[in-house]
Symmetry: C2
């Protein structure tokens, strides 16, 4: 996870909110690294907690995690605030990948949010670089 230290150390890149305004930023970075990753992996493997097991499972269940994530991308233009930040690269990346490969459901809030990300010039440029690398393989 090189994004958070990079964003901290290079404030001129504008990838982290101001030092005193990082609650949502960290909230969604850790939510993605923990519950989202765990819920998606376990769901893919068919490991679904029963109501009894849910009491001991930090993320609850896949539906809880997806519903919470949906609220996060519904409320604002980007996840941590109305400005783009590193959490959109990481958590947004998980949603983007999930929509492509079916691990995240095609709900309008997710599709709208990812459309906002895909429209960014930096996203398009990164895709061009990736595509050129794939073509050269």
């Amino acid at each position: 996870m090189t994004l958070p230290p990079f964003s901290c150390a290079c404030p001129e890149k504008g990838l982290a909110p101001a030092v005193g305004d990082r609650a949502d930023y960290y909230r969604w970075l850790f939510f993605a690294a923990g519950p989202v990753e765990q819920a998606i992996t376990n769901c893919q493997l068919g490991w679904t907690p029963t109501a009894e097991q849910k009491k001991g499972v930090g993320y609850g269940c896949y539906d809880d995690v997806i519903n919470t994530l949906e609220q996060a991308v519904k409320e604002k233009r980007f996840i941590a605030s109305h400005a783009f930040s590193a959490v959109d690269i990481y958590t947004g990346g998980q949603i983007d990948w999930g929509l492509r490969f079916g691990t995240v459901p095609q709900r309008p809030a997710f599709v709208d949010y990812i459309t906002r990300l895909r429209e960014r010039p930096a996203y398009k440029k990164a895709q061009e670089i990736d595509s050129a690398l794939v073509a050269a393989m």
Copy 2:
């Protein structure tokens, strides 16, 4: 996860390393929030990835995670550096709890590290506050 934004916003508390020196600090915070949490939960529920499933599981398996965590606490006095930081509260808390309740094995590196944490005056004071609250219940 209130520790990282608090540590960022209140540098006078000395809970985060200097801004340009946070790679290990974030590495182990995210390692604990993701792989450690996921490996321990799944292990407790008897959800063990097969060799084939491991290829799609970010944390690998419980043993991989525990061995990696053991190296982290072996190399330095505290996890991110020789100085105590918020990662010792969070990741250290998971190891401390794990040793008490059997979700982390009693390896010497873990026991030595937790002994260093338990000897800190702030740890003792927090335990006293907790014990008083339990007694008053």
